[in-house]
Symmetry: C2
Subunit: 224 residues, 2 copies
Amino acid sequence: MKTVFHSPDPLRLIPDSERLKLLEKNQEKEFKKGSLIFPEGKQANGVYSLRTGKAKLVTTDSQGRVQIIHLARPGDLMGYRGVLGGDSFSCAAQAIEASTVVFIPKTDFLHLLDKHPTFSHAIIQLLTSELRRTEHHLAGLARKHVKSRLAETLLELSETYGFEEDGQTLAVTLTREEFAALVGTATETVIRLLHDMQEQQALKIEGRKLCLTNLNLLKQLAAE
Amino acid sequence: MKTVFHSPDPLRLIPDSERLKLLEKNQEKEFKKGSLIFPEGKQANGVYSLRTGKAKLVTTDSQGRVQIIHLARPGDLMGYRGVLGGDSFSCAAQAIEASTVVFIPKTDFLHLLDKHPTFSHAIIQLLTSELRRTEHHLAGLARKHVKSRLAETLLELSETYGFEEDGQTLAVTLTREEFAALVGTATETVIRLLHDMQEQQALKIEGRKLCLTNLNLLKQLAAE
DNA sequence: CGTCTTCTTGAATTCCTTCAATACATGTGG
DNA sequence: CCACATGTATTGAAGGAATTCAAGAAGACG
């Protein structure tokens, strides 16, 4: 049973003319690696469409502990929960690498929802698949050991962002700290477990580049 | 900052005539305490609307570990993820106490989505608030100690199901095992921590009845 | 009234975190 | 382009939180 977590770019589902108008009116903005696209708690005046690059959605709690909620890739909408649900962003968005983003004002977004059934269907699809993905994560977090969760995270990263030309090296490079915030553990634990997995020949560490040399073993580890 | 997690009954947002037709055509079915409303993995031919009673949505992993994903109360739709996303239910639904449920066939449900913008908006709202709730849970699960999570769970239960006439006793009675499956821990840990909290005067244990005598203290524990 | 489920308690162990100290990398300004 | 500053990675050791196993007590339910 394979779970597919990713939906297509919802913007692709509105008529070309309208999309072009939208992308023209709201021009792309560039974000350098590490820069903040929008902060947690800010009033949600619109949604953001990631056009190129990679970004993370993160929450920080009162104790300063950081949790990565979602990793976005081109085509993904960010911040729609803030617009649809409350009135402020429940998480911050930050560029993992240099990225371009289009801002879509709330009124335009809600207008799209109203006027384009295919768009609103796509949003429902998107929300549903997000919900599934998050629930799946939740269940894993509650029941699995850190090593399993880390293995699973590596596999998910490969599905989200794919591999480099060699077909093995993950196309994202995250810091150990980011892995920790994604898996829900301490940085040191990530380091130790990655080395564990390397000893088991499940992967090869080349600095921040990770080579998933044995996907089957990783799947096995993820299932434990 | 108070987070509101619950949405109104989406069925209330379609015209009376149509709702009556729907509820008439698909008559209510009764479920005894503990009985299965629908199983995980079953092909999703429709959604279920909980009319009276209480139910839990659970996933079970390959190792037999159980996780409660959601607790439903009257008005809640169950199984919509299966209908909207994939084609099978990603979790099972089970009655916590005697409940009545209306089954809404997939075609009817999708028809409602198509024809009633207010309904599809309500579904979007529902999905969004669910997503927020689940993400909030996720972040807590990853970062907080079991005691905090348990305290938070107690508070959420009070919001979902409310109190008995005394204004303190939770209106749901769950087994320790169910608490464990909700919080993501072992049954024994739940027992020990509940007794801990009783010593701290945060609550009073009367068998399966829990009296939340000090909400502020519980909130404080939940925040740690 | 007896059976079965649920609850409770203790003890041993495992997993993970935390702290601290050192090595390595990365990027920036001179 | 080098040197330094800063951020990131690594390793060890100690401690703590939670799990697991086991066994007995209490409660629910027919």
